[in-house]
Amino acid sequence: MTDLTELGVAAIRDGVAKGDFTAVEVAEAFNANVAAAQKALNAFIVATPEKALEAAKATDAKRAKGEPLGKMGGVPIGMKDLFATKGVQTTAASHILEGFTPEYESTVSQKLWDAGAGMLGKLNLDQFAMGSSNETSYFGNVISPWRRNDGGNAALAPGGSSGGSSAAVSARLAPAATGTDTGGSIRQPAAFTGISGIKPTYGRCSRWGIVAFASSLDQAGPMARDVRDCAIMLEAMAGFDPKDSTSLDMPVPAWEAGLSGDLTGKKVGIPREYRMDGMDADVAASWDAGIAWLKDAGAEIVDVSLPHTKYALPAYYIIAPAEASSNLARYDGVRYGLRDLPDGAGLQDMYAATRAAGFGAEVKRRILIGTYVLSAGFYDAYYTQAQKVRTLIAQDFKNAFTLCDLILAPTAPTAAFGLGEKSDDPLSMYLNDVFAVPASLAGLPAMSVPAGLNREGLPLGLQIVGKPFDEQGVLNAGLAIESRAQFSAKPEKWW
């Protein structure tokens, strides 16, 4: 019998529906992989094998009765621990939320359970999704299943903030996982681990029940082994939700049925500002390969300009911390989560002590930056200026999309780096998101697909950015790359 953990979302859904294997067999196989890898990879904060089995039994029972199994029927998934899950601890990888057990279920996770998916567990991440290497989690680093081909066993970053998600999917602990993307947190970890991930248009997936980081940027999306699996899972996750004031009131397209790798008549823009001095040679080569693949798929390649690209990161590092400082004001030791009440302390002292004990260093850094740029006297110079620059960045994309339908660029400037290599210098860590952040600031759908391996044997990703609401175009270009890149590498099992 085939190893069920080698199967992706579509293969599991179809195999369960046909009766090739049962959903319970699938859940048991993945539960075993989760348990076996936990010590080495630390991808999960909490494993919930009983939840995966319970959903699988329900799917098998439905099949026995001849009822429809749903878009994700029989597929067990990992849930980033940023989504509130009723009755299951939800921490955002922070100490301040340790032990928090929601009384409600996030919209996106509920939609996935309604579609027949089951939960393998809550995945580790950077604390409050602030990080690009999964080194800011209170519950320890996630270790990438990938290693360099130099024979060494240096621990590599799985990317961040969705590092538990990327590690779990690439190590075959889950066929797919949820991610969230504020400034690249789905795409960069997908690229680092040789999997696919899509951040849809801002508003496609409800933010209700997702621990908020920067509300004008946060978007949920799927991370899976291929483009088709992403399309299936995104269909299950997306949809209008009156509980989210920025939710898009639009029908969810049938993205899986609409998949086509034929790009005849499509124009793909190559942004010249992304070709930076001193660009990694392997990253540049994979970008050139991507251009050739899209041409081969029938697309016309055009040169485009996004002149404000270099200002995207600094604008992001004002806007995101500003929103975070406001969103994270809710953690006060009163209503939920940690309380640190020193002897004889008053209310204000309790707030300050609780937040000092409950937030990690990077979270404190960002709250302080955010507080500063929003404070009286500095608001216009920093925050208003950044929001004006954000308008210009969005305008750059609008202008480019008068000349092309899609944009192709690398996902990240490098392959995965080693744990500890960038964690002492916040700025060098921030720069890893240079190619991912512009699409976030403009709210555009963007996807990373694996393009190949670099000379160290590590995966590189290519990024496709589309017009608002054109997830189909993004997925189709992803499919065109996927079918030509023929990426089949996977981490050699050492855990």
Partner: protein, 100 residues
């Protein structure tokens, strides 16, 4: 613009995060590094540019003015609201004495 220890201490107080003197001192160069880097935004000519308010144009909706229209976000759920409180007493959030 750059920050000194007094400014960092003031920001930390505004943000309600207790920092020791040593933590404040360590934070000063880190924040200054980030602030010096974001300073480059000042180069951008933003004459006549409106600050971004909504990344995807979307009408803000009002819900119907009905009590508990959505049971998930409505009221009548005191125990659920208090379930995760570090100190809940007599159906209220417990906090240290605020008024003498």
């Amino acid at each position: 613009m750059s920050v000194d220890t007094a400014t960092v201490a003031k920001i930390a107080a505004l943000a309600r995060i207790k920092l020791s003197e040593g933590e404040v001192a360590a934070m000063v160069p880190e924040l200054n590094g980030i602030l010096a880097w974001v300073e480059q935004l000042g180069e951008v000519d933003v004459t006549g540019v409106e600050p971004m308010t909504a990344v995807i144009e979307n009408k803000l909706r009002l819900r119907d003015d009905v009590v508990n229209a959505d049971p998930l976000t409505g009221g009548d759920n005191r125990d659920g609201v208090l379930a995760n409180a570090p100190a809940a007493e007599h159906g209220f959030f417990g906090v240290p004495k605020v008024i003498e």
